[in-house]
C-alpha cells in the first residue's frame, strides 16, 4: 500500500507517539493547577500535535491509496496505532503527567538529535525543528521533577508513585525490531543502544538532583510499536475519533 513499508511504519510510530502524547497533554486544558501551567501544558500539547502532523504528512505522502494525514490519525484503530506504551498511560495527577513528560522528552531530545544526522532529509528536517521543542519540554519537566521532589512530603509521595507507575514503560522506548533495524542499516535511524545510554545518563542526573531513587528490578513492558497496547489507548482513540465514527464520510 505504500512505497517504503519500513519507513512508513517508522513515520507512523513517530507521528503516533506525538499525537497520543499531545492528546493526553490536552486533557489538562482548563484543568491545570495554576493558569500559567495550564497554558504551558496546552502549549506543549500544540508542539506535539505539530510534530505529529509533520511525521503523519510524510507517512501519508508514501501511502499510494491517497490517504491524508487526517485519515491516518482519525481512521485507524488501536491495533493499527504504533505509539510507545508510555505516552498512552493516563494522566492520573500532575506528577504522573510531568514524570511522563520527563521520560518522553528526554528520549525525544536524544532521538531527534540523532535523526538530524540521519540519511533521510525530510526526517532530519522535521527533527531539527522538533528537537528545540523537545529540549524545552525536557527543561519544563525536569524543573518540575526537582520542585516536586524537594517541595513537600505530599509532592514527593506523589512523584515517587508516578515514577513507580511509569518506569516499567521506559524500556519500551528503546525497543527495536525488524522495521527499526532495517532503517538502521540504511543509516536513517540511530543505534538505539546509544540513545538509551544517553537517556540513562540524563535520568541519573535528574533523579540524583531530586534525591529520588531510580527503580531497580522492575518488570519492563514491551509492545506498542507492534500495535499491542494497554487498554487505555482504545478509550483515548474513542474520544479523539468520535466525530469520524458518528458521521462517517463527513468532511471537517
Amino acid at each position: 500500500m505504500n512505497n517504503n513499508e519500513n519507513l512508513y511504519q517508522f513515520l507512523l510510530r513517530c507521528a503516533d507517539d506525538n499525537l497520543i502524547a499531545g492528546q493526553r497533554m490536552a486533557e489538562w486544558c482548563s484543568n491545570g493547577p495554576i493558569l500559567e501551567e495550564d497554558l504551558a501544558m496546552v502549549n506543549i500539547s500544540l508542539d506535539f500535535l505539530g510534530q505529529s502532523e509533520s511525521f503523519m504528512e510524510y507517512a501519508a505522502s508514501l501511502d499510494t491509496t491517497g490517504k491524508t494525514s487526517d485519515d491516518l490519525a482519525f481512521g485507524r484503530s488501536e491495533r493499527e496505532y504504533y505509539n510507545h506504551l508510555l505516552v498512552e498511560q493516563p494522566n492520573d495527577d500532575f506528577a504522573v503527567s510531568m514524570v511522563k513528560l520527563l521520560f518522553f522528552s528526554a528520549f525525544q531530545k536524544e532521538l531527534y538529535t540523532a535523526l538530524m544526522e540521519g540519511k533521510d532529509e525530510r526526517i532530519a528536517a522535521i527533527s531539527a525543528k522538533a528537537v528545540k521543542e523537545a529540549r524545552y519540554h525536557y527543561r519544563h519537566a525536569s524543573d518540575w521533577f526537582e520542585r516536586l521532589a524537594l517541595g513537600t512530603d505530599e509532592s514527593l509521595r506523589r512523584l515517587t508513585y508516578a515514577v513507580e507507575e511509569l518506569w516499567p514503560f521506559t524500556e519500551n522506548l528503546f525497543e527495536t525490531d525488524e522495521v527499526y533495524n532495517s532503517l538502521f542499516a540504511e543509516q536513517i535511524v540511530p543505534d538505539m543502544k546509544s540513545i538509551r545510554e544517553k537517556w540513562m545518563t540524563t535520568m541519573r542526573e535528574v533523579f540524583s538532583n531530586g534525591g529520588v531513587d531510580i527503580p531497580a528490578n522492575v518488570h519492563m513492558y514491551a509492545g506498542g510499536i507492534n500495535g499491542y497496547h494497554t487498554e487505555h489507548l482504545g478509550h483515548l482513540l474513542c474520544e479523539m475519533q468520535y466525530l469520524h465514527h458518528a458521521h462517517p464520510g463527513a468532511q471537517w
Partner: protein, 322 residues
C-alpha cells in the same frame, strides 16, 4: 492609587482629565467608585476568559482534524493568556489574583453569563467563536478607548487575537454548512442556541442598565449596550444569511431606510435567571473551577515550598562564602 473621597479639587482635576480624553494610570488619583467599578469589571472580564476555557475545552479532545485541534488549542491558550493580562491589569487596582479567585468562588465576583450555556456539538465551537467572540469584539473594540490605561492596553492586544477567533469560528460554520445534511443541521442547532445568548452579552437595554450612566460619564464604557448590540446584529446577520443559516427570530425585520435589522424581543427573564445563577451550567462551571483549584493546591504548595528552600540554600551559601 489615591482614593480619598470628597477631595473636590482632585475630583475636578480628574474630571477635567477625562474631558480631555486623557488616560488614567494606576498611580494617578481616582475616585474610589471609579476604582471599584473598574476592579469589578476587569476581574469579571478576567474570570470570563478563564471560565470560557471550559466549554471549548469540552471539545478539544474531540476536534476532528489536526488543523481544527491545533486552532482550538491555540485559541484556548489565547483565552487563558487574556485572563492573565486582565488579572494583571486588575491587580494594579490593589487586589491580587488569589483574592479575585476567592471572590469568584464565593460568588461575589461574576463572569460572563454566556459561558453558562453548554457546548453540545462541534458546530458550537464555530458558534462560540463567531457569535460569542464576535459579540465580545464589538464590546472590546469600544473598550480600547476606555479611560483606564492598563485596561485599554490589554484590550488592544486582546482584540487582535479575538478577531482571529471570530474568523476561525465563522470558518467552522462555513465548513459545516457546506457539509452533509447532519452537519448543516448541527450548525443550525448551534445558531439557534447561541444567537439570543450572544445578544444578551451586551447587557440590558440602556434604559434598564444599572451601571451604564456612571460608566459612560467616567469613560470606562464608551458606547451604550444598545448601540453596541445593534452594531453586532447588523454585522452578523448578513454573515448568517450568506452561508444559509436562519436567524432564529420570527420577528426579525430589515429596515431598508436605515440599512439596519430590527430584532424581536429579547427574553430578559432568561437573562435574569442566568445572572442569578440558575443558568444550565452556572453550577457546573463554578464547581469545576473550584475542583481544579483544590486539586492543584498540592502543586502550588510544592512550588512555594521549593522556592523557600532554594532561597534559604542561596542565603546559606552566601553566609558561608562571607
Amino acid at each position: 492609587m489615591e482614593t480619598v473621597e470628597n477631595t473636590s479639587a482632585e475630583l475636578l482635576a480628574f474630571e477635567a482629565r477625562l474631558a480631555k480624553d486623557e488616560v488614567i494610570e494606576p498611580k494617578d488619583w481616582m475616585p474610589a467608585d471609579y476604582a471599584k467599578t473598574l476592579l469589578r469589571q476587569i476581574s469579571q472580564h478576567a474570570h470570563s476568559e478563564v471560565i470560557g476555557m471550559q466549554p471549548e475545552g469540552n471539545w478539544v479532545l474531540r476536534a476532528p482534524t489536526y488543523r481544527a485541534k491545533k486552532i482550538l488549542l491555540a485559541k484556548i491558550q489565547d483565552e487563558g493568556g487574556h485572563g492573565l493580562y486582565l488579572y494583571s491589569a486588575a491587580e494594579t487596582l490593589g487586589m491580587d489574583r488569589a483574592q479575585m479567585i476567592e471572590q469568584l468562588h464565593q460568588g461575589k465576583a461574576k463572569y460572563s453569563s454566556i459561558f453558562n450555556y453548554p457546548a453540545l456539538n462541534w458546530a458550537d465551537i464555530g458558534a462560540i467563536g463567531w457569535l460569542v467572540d464576535g459579540a465580545a469584539i464589538v464590546n472590546q473594540v469600544s473598550l480600547q478607548r476606555t479611560s483606564f490605561g492598563p485596561y485599554a492596553r490589554a484590550m488592544v492586544r486582546i482584540c487582535m487575537e479575538e478577531s482571529f477567533h471570530q474568523r476561525q469560528g465563522y470558518e467552522i460554520m462555513v465548513r459545516m454548512m457546506r457539509g452533509n445534511a447532519e452537519q448543516r443541521q448541527m450548525a443550525q442547532d448551534a445558531m439557534n442556541r447561541w444567537w439570543w445568548p450572544a445578544l444578551m452579552m451586551f447587557g440590558p437595554h440602556d434604559k434598564d442598565s444599572a451601571h451604564t450612566q456612571q460608566s459612560m460619564k467616567w469613560k470606562i464604557k464608551r458606547q451604550s449596550n444598545d448601540v453596541l448590540r445593534q452594531r453586532f446584529i447588523d454585522k452578523t446577520i448578513p454573515q448568517a444569511h450568506f452561508i444559509g443559516l436562519n436567524v432564529p427570530d420570527p420577528d426579525l425585520k430589515y429596515d431598508e431606510e436605515n440599512k439596519s435589522y430590527q430584532i424581536g424581543e429579547i427574553n430578559w427573564a432568561e437573562f435574569q435567571q442566568v445572572i442569578c445563577g440558575n443558568g444550565f451550567c452556572n453550577h457546573a462551571r463554578l464547581s469545576h473551577h473550584k475542583k481544579v483549584h483544590r486539586e492543584g493546591e498540592w502543586v502550588r504548595q510544592a512550588a512555594a515550598a521549593f522556592s523557600v528552600k532554594q532561597k534559604q540554600k542561596q542565603q546559606d551559601l552566601a553566609t558561608a562564602m562571607a
